[in-house]
Symmetry: C2
Protein backbone atom coordinates (compact mmCIF):
# COMPACT_ATOMS: atom_id res chain seq x y z
CA UNK A 1 0.00 0.00 0.00
CA UNK A 2 2.95 2.30 0.65
CA UNK A 3 1.37 5.07 2.70
CA UNK A 4 2.99 8.35 3.61
CA UNK A 5 2.94 8.75 7.39
CA UNK A 6 3.23 11.90 9.43
CA UNK A 7 4.54 12.24 12.92
CA UNK A 8 2.21 15.18 13.55
CA UNK A 9 -0.68 12.80 14.20
CA UNK A 10 1.20 10.73 16.77
CA UNK A 11 -0.54 12.07 19.87
CA UNK A 12 -3.94 10.82 18.74
CA UNK A 13 -5.76 7.60 19.45
CA UNK A 14 -5.49 4.96 16.74
CA UNK A 15 -8.88 5.71 15.18
CA UNK A 16 -7.99 9.35 14.59
CA UNK A 17 -4.43 8.53 13.61
CA UNK A 18 -5.62 6.07 10.97
CA UNK A 19 -8.24 8.56 9.81
CA UNK A 20 -5.69 11.33 9.36
CA UNK A 21 -3.10 9.20 7.60
CA UNK A 22 -5.63 7.67 5.21
CA UNK A 23 -7.22 11.05 4.51
CA UNK A 24 -3.89 12.64 3.71
CA UNK A 25 -2.96 9.80 1.38
CA UNK A 26 -6.31 9.90 -0.39
CA UNK A 27 -6.15 13.69 -0.80
CA UNK A 28 -2.58 13.45 -2.11
CA UNK A 29 -3.77 10.85 -4.59
CA UNK A 30 -1.13 8.51 -3.17
CA UNK A 31 -4.09 6.15 -2.93
CA UNK A 32 -5.91 6.43 -6.22
CA UNK A 33 -9.67 6.73 -6.68
CA UNK A 34 -11.26 3.33 -7.07
CA UNK A 35 -8.65 1.56 -4.94
CA UNK A 36 -10.15 -1.07 -2.68
CA UNK A 37 -9.41 -0.58 1.00
CA UNK A 38 -9.09 -3.91 2.77
CA UNK A 39 -9.68 -3.52 6.48
CA UNK A 40 -7.54 -6.53 7.30
CA UNK A 41 -4.62 -5.31 5.20
CA UNK A 42 -4.75 -1.79 6.64
CA UNK A 43 -5.12 -3.20 10.16
CA UNK A 44 -1.87 -5.13 9.81
CA UNK A 45 -0.23 -2.12 8.11
CA UNK A 46 -0.99 -0.03 11.21
CA UNK A 47 -0.49 -3.01 13.54
CA UNK A 48 -3.92 -2.64 15.15
CA UNK A 49 -7.17 -4.56 15.05
CA UNK A 50 -10.01 -3.97 12.60
CA UNK A 51 -12.00 -1.85 15.07
CA UNK A 52 -10.13 1.48 14.84
CA UNK A 53 -9.87 1.02 11.07
CA UNK A 54 -13.62 0.58 10.85
CA UNK A 55 -14.20 3.70 12.93
CA UNK A 56 -11.83 5.68 10.74
CA UNK A 57 -13.89 4.47 7.78
CA UNK A 58 -17.05 5.88 9.38
CA UNK A 59 -15.47 9.33 9.34
CA UNK A 60 -13.96 8.97 5.88
CA UNK A 61 -17.32 7.89 4.50
CA UNK A 62 -19.09 10.85 6.06
CA UNK A 63 -16.68 13.16 4.24
CA UNK A 64 -17.18 11.42 0.92
CA UNK A 65 -13.61 10.18 0.67
CA UNK A 66 -14.63 6.54 0.47
CA UNK A 67 -17.66 4.58 -0.68
CA UNK A 68 -18.77 1.61 1.40
CA UNK A 69 -20.72 -1.19 -0.23
CA UNK A 70 -21.96 -3.63 2.43
CA UNK A 71 -20.68 -7.16 2.06
CA UNK A 72 -18.74 -6.11 -1.04
CA UNK A 73 -16.01 -3.73 -0.15
CA UNK A 74 -14.82 -0.22 0.59
CA UNK A 75 -13.29 1.90 -2.17
CA UNK A 76 -11.64 5.30 -2.49
CA UNK A 77 -14.30 7.54 -4.05
CA UNK A 78 -13.95 8.72 -7.61
CA UNK A 79 -13.73 12.47 -8.13
CA UNK A 80 -17.26 13.79 -8.53
CA UNK A 81 -17.42 16.98 -10.60
CA UNK A 82 -20.73 17.98 -9.03
CA UNK A 83 -19.08 17.99 -5.64
CA UNK A 84 -16.17 19.96 -7.07
CA UNK A 85 -18.63 22.57 -8.29
CA UNK A 86 -20.38 22.76 -4.92
CA UNK A 87 -17.13 23.17 -3.03
CA UNK A 88 -16.09 26.02 -5.32
CA UNK A 89 -19.44 27.73 -4.79
CA UNK A 90 -19.14 27.39 -1.06
CA UNK A 91 -15.56 28.60 -0.86
CA UNK A 92 -16.36 31.62 -2.98
CA UNK A 93 -19.33 32.57 -0.80
CA UNK A 94 -17.45 32.17 2.46
CA UNK A 95 -13.98 33.44 1.59
CA UNK A 96 -15.28 36.69 0.17
CA UNK A 97 -17.38 37.25 3.27
CA UNK A 98 -14.56 36.34 5.63
CA UNK A 99 -12.01 38.65 4.05
CA UNK A 100 -14.40 41.57 4.48
CA UNK A 101 -14.80 40.63 8.12
CA UNK A 102 -11.06 40.20 8.47
CA UNK A 103 -10.59 43.85 7.53
CA UNK A 104 -12.58 44.71 10.63
CA UNK A 105 -11.49 42.17 13.21
CA UNK A 106 -8.30 40.40 12.12
CA UNK A 107 -5.76 41.06 14.90
CA UNK A 108 -2.60 42.91 13.91
CA UNK A 109 -0.30 40.46 15.66
CA UNK A 110 -1.61 37.62 13.52
CA UNK A 111 -0.77 39.42 10.31
CA UNK A 112 2.80 38.53 11.11
CA UNK A 113 1.86 34.85 11.06
CA UNK A 114 0.36 35.29 7.61
CA UNK A 115 3.60 36.80 6.38
CA UNK A 116 5.59 33.94 7.87
CA UNK A 117 3.34 31.44 6.17
CA UNK A 118 3.79 33.23 2.88
CA UNK A 119 7.56 32.90 3.16
CA UNK A 120 7.16 29.13 3.38
CA UNK A 121 4.94 29.20 0.32
CA UNK A 122 7.63 31.05 -1.61
CA UNK A 123 10.23 28.51 -0.51
CA UNK A 124 7.99 25.63 -1.54
CA UNK A 125 7.58 27.18 -4.98
CA UNK A 126 11.32 27.54 -5.37
CA UNK A 127 11.81 23.94 -4.25
CA UNK A 128 9.16 22.78 -6.72
CA UNK A 129 7.41 21.07 -3.79
CA UNK A 130 3.82 21.37 -4.89
CA UNK A 131 2.40 19.30 -2.03
CA UNK A 132 4.02 21.62 0.49
CA UNK A 133 2.78 24.67 -1.40
CA UNK A 134 -0.70 23.20 -1.39
CA UNK A 135 -0.50 22.54 2.34
CA UNK A 136 0.60 26.08 3.21
CA UNK A 137 -1.85 27.63 0.77
CA UNK A 138 -4.64 25.88 2.67
CA UNK A 139 -3.07 26.85 5.96
CA UNK A 140 -3.06 30.49 4.87
CA UNK A 141 -6.79 30.46 4.28
CA UNK A 142 -7.38 28.59 7.49
CA UNK A 143 -5.54 31.34 9.34
CA UNK A 144 -7.86 33.94 7.85
CA UNK A 145 -10.83 32.13 9.35
CA UNK A 146 -9.09 31.56 12.67
CA UNK A 147 -8.21 35.24 12.93
CA UNK A 148 -11.91 36.00 12.63
CA UNK A 149 -12.76 33.30 15.20
CA UNK A 150 -14.46 31.20 12.55
CA UNK A 151 -12.37 28.06 12.61
CA UNK A 152 -15.40 25.77 12.41
CA UNK A 153 -16.36 27.31 9.08
CA UNK A 154 -12.94 26.40 7.74
CA UNK A 155 -13.49 22.85 8.98
CA UNK A 156 -16.73 22.81 7.02
CA UNK A 157 -14.97 24.02 3.89
CA UNK A 158 -12.30 21.36 4.30
CA UNK A 159 -14.94 18.69 4.60
CA UNK A 160 -16.82 19.64 1.46
CA UNK A 161 -13.58 20.15 -0.47
CA UNK A 162 -12.39 16.55 -0.58
CA UNK A 163 -13.15 16.29 -4.28
CA UNK A 164 -12.18 19.85 -5.21
CA UNK A 165 -8.83 19.52 -3.50
CA UNK A 166 -7.93 16.37 -5.36
CA UNK A 167 -8.59 18.30 -8.57
CA UNK A 168 -6.36 21.10 -7.34
CA UNK A 169 -3.58 18.62 -6.59
CA UNK A 170 -3.89 17.07 -10.05
CA UNK A 171 -3.81 20.51 -11.62
CA UNK A 172 -0.84 21.63 -9.53
CA UNK A 173 1.15 18.51 -10.34
CA UNK A 174 0.71 19.23 -14.05
CA UNK A 175 1.33 22.97 -13.96
CA UNK A 176 3.43 24.14 -11.10
CA UNK A 177 3.86 27.72 -12.30
CA UNK A 178 1.74 29.35 -9.64
CA UNK A 179 3.56 32.44 -8.48
CA UNK A 180 0.30 34.27 -9.21
CA UNK A 181 -1.29 32.55 -6.22
CA UNK A 182 1.45 33.72 -3.90
CA UNK A 183 1.16 37.26 -5.22
CA UNK A 184 -2.57 37.15 -4.50
CA UNK A 185 -1.85 36.08 -0.94
CA UNK A 186 0.48 39.03 -0.48
CA UNK A 187 -2.22 41.37 -1.76
CA UNK A 188 -4.72 39.86 0.65
CA UNK A 189 -2.38 40.49 3.57
CA UNK A 190 -1.86 44.07 2.41
CA UNK A 191 -5.56 44.85 2.14
CA UNK A 192 -6.20 43.40 5.59
CA UNK A 193 -3.36 45.44 7.04
CA UNK A 194 -4.79 48.55 5.40
CA UNK A 195 -8.30 47.53 6.56
CA UNK A 196 -9.53 48.14 3.04
CA UNK A 197 -12.52 45.80 2.84
CA UNK A 198 -13.62 46.92 -0.61
CA UNK A 199 -10.27 46.12 -2.15
CA UNK A 200 -9.98 42.94 -0.08
CA UNK A 201 -13.21 41.67 -1.55
CA UNK A 202 -11.97 42.34 -5.08
CA UNK A 203 -8.64 40.63 -4.48
CA UNK A 204 -10.26 37.58 -2.89
CA UNK A 205 -12.80 37.27 -5.68
CA UNK A 206 -10.12 37.20 -8.31
CA UNK A 207 -8.00 34.89 -6.16
CA UNK A 208 -10.75 32.31 -5.71
CA UNK A 209 -11.68 32.51 -9.36
CA UNK A 210 -8.22 31.12 -10.12
CA UNK A 211 -9.46 27.80 -8.75
CA UNK A 212 -10.48 26.73 -12.15
CA UNK A 213 -8.67 24.15 -14.12
CA UNK A 214 -9.21 22.53 -17.41
CA UNK A 215 -11.59 19.88 -16.14
CA UNK A 216 -11.91 18.28 -19.55
CA UNK A 217 -8.16 17.95 -19.92
CA UNK A 218 -7.74 16.49 -16.44
CA UNK A 219 -10.53 14.05 -17.15
CA UNK A 220 -8.80 13.04 -20.37
CA UNK A 221 -5.41 12.64 -18.69
CA UNK A 222 -6.75 10.72 -15.69
CA UNK A 223 -9.92 9.03 -16.94
CA UNK A 224 -9.90 6.36 -14.23
CA UNK A 225 -9.95 9.00 -11.45
CA UNK A 226 -13.44 10.22 -12.27
CA UNK A 227 -16.98 9.07 -11.64
CA UNK A 228 -19.45 8.45 -14.47
Amino acid sequence: MNLAYHKKYNNLNMKDYVYNVLKENIMNLTIKPGTILRKKEIASEFEVSRTPIREAFVKLKEEGLIDVYPQRGTFVSYIDLDKVKEAKFMREALETKIVKLACEVFPDEKIFDLEANLKVQEMSLQQNNYLKLFEYDNEFHKMLFEGCNMENIWTSIEQISSHLNRMRILSLSADFNRSDVIEDHQRIINTIRERDSKKALQVMESHISRIKFDQEKLKRDYPDYFAS
Copy 2:
Protein backbone atom coordinates in the same frame (compact mmCIF):
# COMPACT_ATOMS: atom_id res chain seq x y z
CA MET B 1 -34.33 7.84 28.47
CA ASN B 2 -37.67 8.17 26.65
CA LEU B 3 -36.55 8.81 23.09
CA ALA B 4 -38.76 9.87 20.22
CA TYR B 5 -38.42 7.38 17.39
CA HIS B 6 -39.22 7.82 13.75
CA LYS B 7 -40.20 5.17 11.27
CA LYS B 8 -38.57 7.12 8.46
CA TYR B 9 -35.16 5.83 9.50
CA ASN B 10 -36.21 2.19 9.49
CA ASN B 11 -34.54 1.19 6.26
CA LEU B 12 -31.08 2.00 7.54
CA ASN B 13 -28.46 -0.14 9.22
CA MET B 14 -28.36 0.07 12.99
CA LYS B 15 -25.45 2.50 13.13
CA ASP B 16 -27.23 5.06 10.97
CA TYR B 17 -30.58 4.40 12.60
CA VAL B 18 -29.13 5.04 16.05
CA TYR B 19 -27.29 8.09 14.75
CA ASN B 20 -30.45 9.61 13.28
CA VAL B 21 -32.65 8.91 16.30
CA LEU B 22 -30.10 10.27 18.76
CA LYS B 23 -29.41 13.32 16.60
CA GLU B 24 -33.10 14.15 16.33
CA ASN B 25 -33.59 13.82 20.06
CA ILE B 26 -30.55 15.95 20.83
CA MET B 27 -31.61 18.64 18.36
CA ASN B 28 -35.16 18.62 19.78
CA LEU B 29 -33.67 19.05 23.22
CA THR B 30 -35.52 15.88 24.26
CA ILE B 31 -32.08 14.89 25.51
CA LYS B 32 -30.74 17.91 27.34
CA PRO B 33 -27.24 19.33 27.04
CA GLY B 34 -24.94 17.80 29.63
CA THR B 35 -26.84 14.50 29.76
CA ILE B 36 -24.54 11.52 30.02
CA LEU B 37 -24.99 8.96 27.25
CA ARG B 38 -24.34 5.46 28.54
CA LYS B 39 -23.45 3.12 25.72
CA LYS B 40 -24.76 0.10 27.59
CA GLU B 41 -28.10 1.75 28.39
CA ILE B 42 -28.60 2.97 24.82
CA ALA B 43 -27.57 -0.42 23.46
CA SER B 44 -30.30 -2.15 25.43
CA GLU B 45 -32.76 0.62 24.53
CA PHE B 46 -32.17 -0.12 20.83
CA GLU B 47 -31.71 -3.84 21.50
CA VAL B 48 -28.33 -4.01 19.79
CA SER B 49 -24.75 -4.39 20.94
CA ARG B 50 -22.45 -1.55 21.88
CA THR B 51 -20.70 -1.56 18.48
CA PRO B 52 -23.29 0.29 16.36
CA ILE B 53 -23.85 2.71 19.27
CA ARG B 54 -20.17 3.45 19.33
CA GLU B 55 -20.10 4.06 15.59
CA ALA B 56 -23.07 6.40 15.86
CA PHE B 57 -21.08 8.26 18.53
CA VAL B 58 -18.19 8.72 16.11
CA LYS B 59 -20.52 10.60 13.76
CA LEU B 60 -22.27 12.55 16.51
CA LYS B 61 -18.91 13.63 17.88
CA GLU B 62 -17.72 14.82 14.49
CA GLU B 63 -20.77 17.07 14.29
CA GLY B 64 -20.23 18.50 17.75
CA LEU B 65 -23.43 17.05 19.17
CA ILE B 66 -21.63 15.11 21.87
CA ASP B 67 -18.36 15.41 23.77
CA VAL B 68 -16.38 12.25 24.44
CA TYR B 69 -14.01 12.11 27.39
CA PRO B 70 -11.98 8.88 27.25
CA GLN B 71 -12.44 6.59 30.22
CA ARG B 72 -14.87 9.08 31.75
CA GLY B 73 -17.98 9.33 29.66
CA THR B 74 -19.87 10.76 26.72
CA PHE B 75 -22.13 13.78 27.17
CA VAL B 76 -24.54 15.81 25.06
CA SER B 77 -22.66 19.00 24.21
CA TYR B 78 -23.65 22.27 25.76
CA ILE B 79 -24.79 25.01 23.39
CA ASP B 80 -21.72 26.97 22.34
CA LEU B 81 -22.54 30.56 21.37
CA ASP B 82 -19.40 30.83 19.25
CA LYS B 83 -20.64 27.96 17.12
CA VAL B 84 -24.07 29.57 16.94
CA LYS B 85 -22.43 32.71 15.58
CA GLU B 86 -20.42 30.78 13.01
CA ALA B 87 -23.47 28.89 11.77
CA LYS B 88 -25.37 32.14 11.33
CA PHE B 89 -22.48 33.64 9.39
CA MET B 90 -22.30 30.60 7.14
CA ARG B 91 -26.01 30.40 6.50
CA GLU B 92 -26.18 34.07 5.63
CA ALA B 93 -23.31 33.77 3.17
CA LEU B 94 -24.68 30.68 1.46
CA GLU B 95 -28.42 31.31 1.47
CA THR B 96 -28.09 34.74 -0.09
CA LYS B 97 -25.85 33.32 -2.78
CA ILE B 98 -28.14 30.34 -3.42
CA VAL B 99 -31.29 32.39 -3.79
CA LYS B 100 -29.62 34.49 -6.45
CA LEU B 101 -28.64 31.31 -8.25
CA ALA B 102 -32.13 29.91 -7.78
CA CYS B 103 -33.54 32.82 -9.78
CA GLU B 104 -31.49 31.57 -12.70
CA VAL B 105 -31.67 27.80 -12.46
CA PHE B 106 -34.45 26.73 -10.10
CA PRO B 107 -36.77 24.51 -12.18
CA ASP B 108 -40.36 25.69 -12.54
CA GLU B 109 -41.84 22.29 -11.69
CA LYS B 110 -40.13 22.34 -8.30
CA ILE B 111 -41.69 25.66 -7.37
CA PHE B 112 -44.86 23.67 -6.87
CA ASP B 113 -43.08 21.56 -4.23
CA LEU B 114 -42.10 24.75 -2.41
CA GLU B 115 -45.72 25.84 -2.34
CA ALA B 116 -46.82 22.44 -1.04
CA ASN B 117 -44.21 22.62 1.70
CA LEU B 118 -45.42 26.08 2.65
CA LYS B 119 -48.98 24.77 3.09
CA VAL B 120 -47.67 22.29 5.66
CA GLN B 121 -45.86 25.11 7.43
CA GLU B 122 -49.11 27.07 7.67
CA MET B 123 -50.89 24.03 9.06
CA SER B 124 -48.15 23.49 11.61
CA LEU B 125 -48.47 27.08 12.75
CA GLN B 126 -52.25 26.71 13.15
CA GLN B 127 -51.76 23.49 15.08
CA ASN B 128 -49.16 25.18 17.30
CA ASN B 129 -46.77 22.36 16.41
CA TYR B 130 -43.48 24.19 16.55
CA LEU B 131 -41.32 21.11 15.99
CA LYS B 132 -43.15 20.36 12.78
CA LEU B 133 -42.89 23.99 11.68
CA PHE B 134 -39.17 23.86 12.38
CA GLU B 135 -38.83 20.65 10.38
CA TYR B 136 -40.62 22.03 7.32
CA ASP B 137 -38.87 25.36 7.56
CA ASN B 138 -35.57 23.52 7.29
CA GLU B 139 -36.97 21.33 4.53
CA PHE B 140 -37.95 24.47 2.59
CA HIS B 141 -34.40 25.77 2.62
CA LYS B 142 -33.05 22.35 1.77
CA MET B 143 -35.29 22.32 -1.31
CA LEU B 144 -33.82 25.62 -2.45
CA PHE B 145 -30.35 24.05 -2.44
CA GLU B 146 -31.55 20.85 -4.07
CA GLY B 147 -33.25 22.80 -6.84
CA CYS B 148 -29.86 24.37 -7.60
CA ASN B 149 -28.14 20.97 -7.43
CA MET B 150 -26.29 21.97 -4.30
CA GLU B 151 -27.56 19.43 -1.81
CA ASN B 152 -24.11 18.83 -0.33
CA ILE B 153 -23.89 22.47 0.68
CA TRP B 154 -27.13 22.09 2.61
CA THR B 155 -25.64 19.02 4.32
CA SER B 156 -22.69 21.20 5.32
CA ILE B 157 -25.01 23.85 6.72
CA GLU B 158 -26.93 21.23 8.69
CA GLN B 159 -23.71 19.93 10.16
CA ILE B 160 -22.44 23.27 11.38
CA SER B 161 -25.91 24.26 12.64
CA SER B 162 -26.24 21.76 15.48
CA HIS B 163 -25.82 24.49 18.08
CA LEU B 164 -27.70 27.22 16.19
CA ASN B 165 -30.69 24.96 15.63
CA ARG B 166 -31.01 24.11 19.29
CA MET B 167 -31.16 27.85 19.98
CA ARG B 168 -33.85 28.21 17.32
CA ILE B 169 -35.88 25.41 18.92
CA LEU B 170 -35.57 27.05 22.34
CA SER B 171 -36.62 30.36 20.90
CA LEU B 172 -39.55 28.85 18.98
CA SER B 173 -40.81 27.00 22.01
CA ALA B 174 -40.96 30.28 23.93
CA ASP B 175 -42.40 32.46 21.20
CA PHE B 176 -44.42 30.60 18.63
CA ASN B 177 -45.83 33.65 16.88
CA ARG B 178 -43.85 33.27 13.68
CA SER B 179 -46.21 33.97 10.81
CA ASP B 180 -43.56 36.45 9.64
CA VAL B 181 -41.31 33.54 8.72
CA ILE B 182 -43.99 31.93 6.58
CA GLU B 183 -44.67 35.23 4.86
CA ASP B 184 -40.97 35.49 4.07
CA HIS B 185 -41.04 32.03 2.54
CA GLN B 186 -43.94 33.03 0.30
CA ARG B 187 -42.01 36.09 -0.83
CA ILE B 188 -38.99 33.95 -1.59
CA ILE B 189 -41.10 31.66 -3.77
CA ASN B 190 -42.55 34.67 -5.57
CA THR B 191 -39.20 36.24 -6.35
CA ILE B 192 -37.87 32.94 -7.67
CA ARG B 193 -40.94 32.52 -9.84
CA GLU B 194 -40.45 36.05 -11.17
CA ARG B 195 -36.71 35.35 -11.58
CA ASP B 196 -36.03 38.62 -9.78
CA SER B 197 -32.62 37.95 -8.25
CA LYS B 198 -32.17 41.46 -6.86
CA LYS B 199 -35.39 41.30 -4.89
CA ALA B 200 -34.71 37.68 -3.94
CA LEU B 201 -31.44 38.69 -2.35
CA GLN B 202 -33.16 41.42 -0.33
CA VAL B 203 -35.92 39.12 0.87
CA MET B 204 -33.48 36.38 1.85
CA GLU B 205 -31.22 38.82 3.68
CA SER B 206 -34.07 40.08 5.80
CA HIS B 207 -35.36 36.53 6.26
CA ILE B 208 -32.05 35.18 7.55
CA SER B 209 -31.58 38.22 9.77
CA ARG B 210 -34.67 37.06 11.67
CA ILE B 211 -32.55 34.23 13.02
CA LYS B 212 -31.68 36.28 16.00
CA PHE B 213 -33.04 35.66 19.40
CA ASP B 214 -32.50 37.17 22.75
CA GLN B 215 -29.45 35.11 23.60
CA GLU B 216 -29.12 36.66 27.01
CA LYS B 217 -32.70 35.86 27.90
CA LEU B 218 -32.40 32.26 26.68
CA LYS B 219 -29.20 31.88 28.67
CA ARG B 220 -30.97 33.19 31.74
CA ASP B 221 -33.97 30.91 31.26
CA TYR B 222 -31.93 27.79 30.50
CA PRO B 223 -28.60 28.38 32.27
CA ASP B 224 -27.70 24.69 32.38
CA TYR B 225 -27.98 24.34 28.58
CA PHE B 226 -24.98 26.54 27.86
CA ALA B 227 -21.23 26.16 27.91
CA SER B 228 -19.04 28.41 30.08
